[in-house]
Symmetry: C2
Subunit: 181 residues, 2 copies
DNA sequence: CCATATTTTCATTAAATACTGAAAGTACGA
DNA sequence: TCGTACTTTCAGTATTTAATGAAAATATGG
């Protein structure tokens, strides 16, 4: 172990590392608050700020996590479509890279949440509405009114999100800014 | 224990109870997927479909949960602004009722999530950007570009949500429907 | 095929989160 | 100011969720 001279470059590299670590940690915490596994969010953060694709071993090393953990969460990210696996010709191991375009990321997350959470929730609400449909007591009518209102709202939200996600970034961003006056 | 005759009314009451239970259970599961404590979501569901305000004891009884659990989650819901506590004159105990207007509920949730999660996330991103700001390596510039893109996007989203939430339901709903063509 | 590199699975363990219930605290009316 | 009704707190426990690491499965090149 040679002691390196403290050059400008080494100081800067350390600063960058600190910033990257902070970003990975915080992105994990943010994901956590939104119901996303912390490690999954951290891997996503790491891949977002890494220009080249990484192997499972590199992810393990960077985040100090086990192979099983890295593997499971990488697969989960691929399942969401936020990460792609790439194969380099002549190499046996798999590399992973994140979708870096923020608008595309947003669309992927919205589409998946719609599919996995909003749609099922709407179906459940419809089922509840059906079950209480014929009943005529005041209690029953209050129940139906409330669940219908929720259901209508969620269907509207689902529709608006579909439209937003289908639209082109180039049209929606300036529109949003104008909308904001 | 007398055996009751199976009247039409008792059948209907049972049907309604089943529908209500289903709703409470499923709303709990939905909340869970979005990072909200299951019991908190269940209490919220219960209060949404109950026309009158309930006491802590009634909530405990309905959901078969402990006093501590009911208390903590009711307070949390009051903290979000989704539930109000009401005092009936001449009565000592506290009653709780949910905000039932779906648009108001939506606005409350959006405002709170903005305040508790989006704003802090933006601040964290800004901090990361600042830390890597002066650095000139290719790695550093890639990092800054990515975090800036994320930050800009989140600020835009934050702005759009502010505007939506400030707007009147009466103007936004027809607008959303038109927007959807 | 065999030897080796790489990925996947999964029983076990660890960590995080949520719940209970009883005790302590508070407020109110008589 | 005492007794009672009600609320709050929190140490201990239970449940859920996530992570580890080693063994099994799979793929690849020779």
């Amino acid at each position: 172990m040679e002691k390196q001279p403290t050059t400008n470059a080494t100081v800067e590299a350390a600063q960058l590392d600190a910033a990257r670590d902070e970003f990975v940690t915080q992105w994990g915490a943010i994901g956590n608050a939104w119901g996303i596994n912390r490690t999954m969010a951290q891997i996503h953060a790491l891949l977002m700020i890494t220009p080249n694709a990484l192997t499972t071993d590199e992810v393990m090393e960077e985040l100090k996590i086990s192979r099983g953990n890295a593997h499971t969460n990488l697969r989960e990210l691929v399942g969401w479509g936020l990460v792609r696996s790439v194969v380099r010709k002549g190499e046996r191991k798999e590399y992973f890279e994140a979708e870096k375009d923020v608008w595309k990321m947003f669309c992927i997350i919205v589409r998946e949440r719609k599919r996995r959470e909003i749609r099922p929730a709407i179906n459940v609400l419809k089922d509840c509405i059906d079950r209480a449909d014929g009943l005529k007591s005041a209690e029953a009518r209050a129940f139906t009114a409330q669940t219908k209102a929720l259901c209508d709202f969620m269907e509207m939200a689902d529709g608006v999100l579909s439209k937003v996600v289908r639209s082109e970034r180039s049209t929606i961003v300036p529109w949003a800014l104008k909308f904001l006056k």
